[in-house]
């Protein structure tokens, strides 16, 4: 745990300028990030989120797995994973149906990166979690319900 090297390469140098511009109101923080899909993260419902992600239609697939606990003790920290055996997966996203904004995270996977990503999300209440996977240009989904015993949206 202690033996790996951690080197700080740079810290916030270029970002400082962006920060200044943002503070001056010249660019908003959202704009400062070229490809962050604001519309998708701001969307409320599942349907609007998918639309903002440019997803026209999805197919349920057994070759997509959502992993996570059946019950989460604290909704502020819920481990979830998405894995798929589908070919040429280029994008993976995690959506939480009952959160104020459904989209939690999306990932772009270059060639050579496996369709197997794990992270941790906040859940305001018991909800279905959806995994969205783009394979060969088409979208596939899978879902799992996670029960939450303590809501996680207070921070």
């Amino acid at each position: 745990m202690n033996n790996q090297r951690r080197t700080v390469l740079k810290s916030g140098s270029g970002a400082a300028l962006l920060g200044m511009l943002a503070a001056a109101g010249i660019i908003t923080p959202g704009m400062a990030l070229a490809d962050w899909n604001k519309a998708a993260f701001d969307a409320k419902s599942m349907a609007d989120t998918l639309k903002a992600l440019g997803v026209a239609g999805t197919t349920d697939s057994k070759d997509v797995q959502v992993t996570g606990p059946d019950i989460a003790e604290n909704g502020a920290v819920v481990p979830v994973g998405v894995a798929s055996t589908l070919p040429n997966v280029t994008m993976v996203a995690i959506l939480i149906e009952k959160n104020p904004n459904a989209l939690a995270a999306s990932f772009v996977l270059p060639e050579g990166t496996e369709a197997n990503v794990q992270t941790r999300v906040k859940m305001g209440q018991t909800s279905n979690i959806y995994a969205l996977v783009k394979s060969d240009g088409k979208f596939f989904m899978a879902t799992k319900e996670i029960k939450v015993t303590l809501g996680g949206c207070g921070g």
Binding site: M1, N2, E73, V77
Partner: protein, 271 residues
């Protein structure tokens, strides 16, 4: 006498209400929650505090612009390996039995020139407000990983503290006439889904003590042993002692003595 007995019965009834019935049907739930905690163990958020603590330890800070690298946690100046596992310990320079937190604060005051009030103001974190003490204790704790808890309380002052801790552990007081032992003195006790553990045996005390400091998922924060015990005093409906109070150090001395021989595994993951 009768009043005392009444209180005992009330206390026991409260605990029975906590523990009864739910046990069987909820053991599946408990299994699922154990799985949940396991999923968080790899990449324990507390690991970040350990990294931060490592930085704080070496950083020159305070009015004296000094690092903590000369801090003597009982194994000699700057020696961290196994230090946590051997605390609380009697220190000649202060003529006191000190736990890791009181010794760390002592070092921050004497080496770095902070006042005690400055150092302990943020002794635990709140959302958006980090605690240096939490980070440093997490770092120091991890430096004992793989080593056995070794706090047999053989020095007369340590033995005295351990005795005092044992006395507090069994002593019933407060509006509910609770004691630590009511909740933590038997096998298999639970409050709702939380297993309480029997802290009077080497196994039980060891299972608990080896994992602190711990990341508490219900709090989204790392707790030190001081915080754990002060909060248990609150659970016992006792007046809450001040940070670094002798009563807490005494309980730690008693618990570490009971846990001696157990291999350290910090930071843990707890409810």
């Amino acid at each position: 006498m009768i009043r005392r007995l009444m209180k005992t019965l009330v206390g026991a009834a409260v605990l029975a209400a906590f523990a009864g019935g739910v046990v069987a049907q909820d053991s599946k739930v408990a299994d699922e929650l154990a799985k949940y905690r396991e999923a968080l163990a790899d990449g324990n958020p507390a690991d970040l505090l350990e990294v931060k603590g490592e930085g704080l330890w070496a950083e020159k800070r305070g009015p004296k612009n000094a690092s903590l690298e000369k801090c003597d946690l009982g194994q000699g100046p700057g020696k961290l390996e196994g230090a946590y596992a051997a605390l609380p310990k009697y220190f000649k320079d202060t003529n006191k039995v000190m736990d890791v937190e009181s010794r760390l604060v002592h070092c921050m005051v004497t080496l770095q020139g902070f006042t005690q009030a400055e150092v302990t103001k943020q002794w635990f974190s709140r959302p958006g407000k980090e605690s240096d003490i939490e980070a440093l204790v997490t770092f120091i704790g991890a430096k004992s990983n793989g080593m056995k808890i070794n706090a047999p309380a053989t020095h007369p002052e340590e033995a005295r503290m351990a005795k005092m801790g044992e006395y507090i552990f069994y002593r019933r007081s407060g509006p509910q006439d609770f004691s630590c032992s009511i909740c933590h003195g038997q096998e298999g006790k639970r409050i709702r889904l939380q297993e309480l553990g029997n802290l009077t045996t080497k196994e039980g005390a060891g299972f608990a003590m080896k994992t602190w400091p711990s990341y508490r998922v219900s709090q989204g924060a790392v707790w030190t042993m001081q915080r754990r015990l002060i909060d248990c005093m609150r659970q016992a409906r006792w007046p809450e002692p001040a940070y670094l109070a002798d009563s807490i150090v005494a309980l730690e001395t008693y618990l570490q003595k009971t846990a001696t021989g157990t291999v350290m595994e910090t930071p843990g993951i707890k409810r």
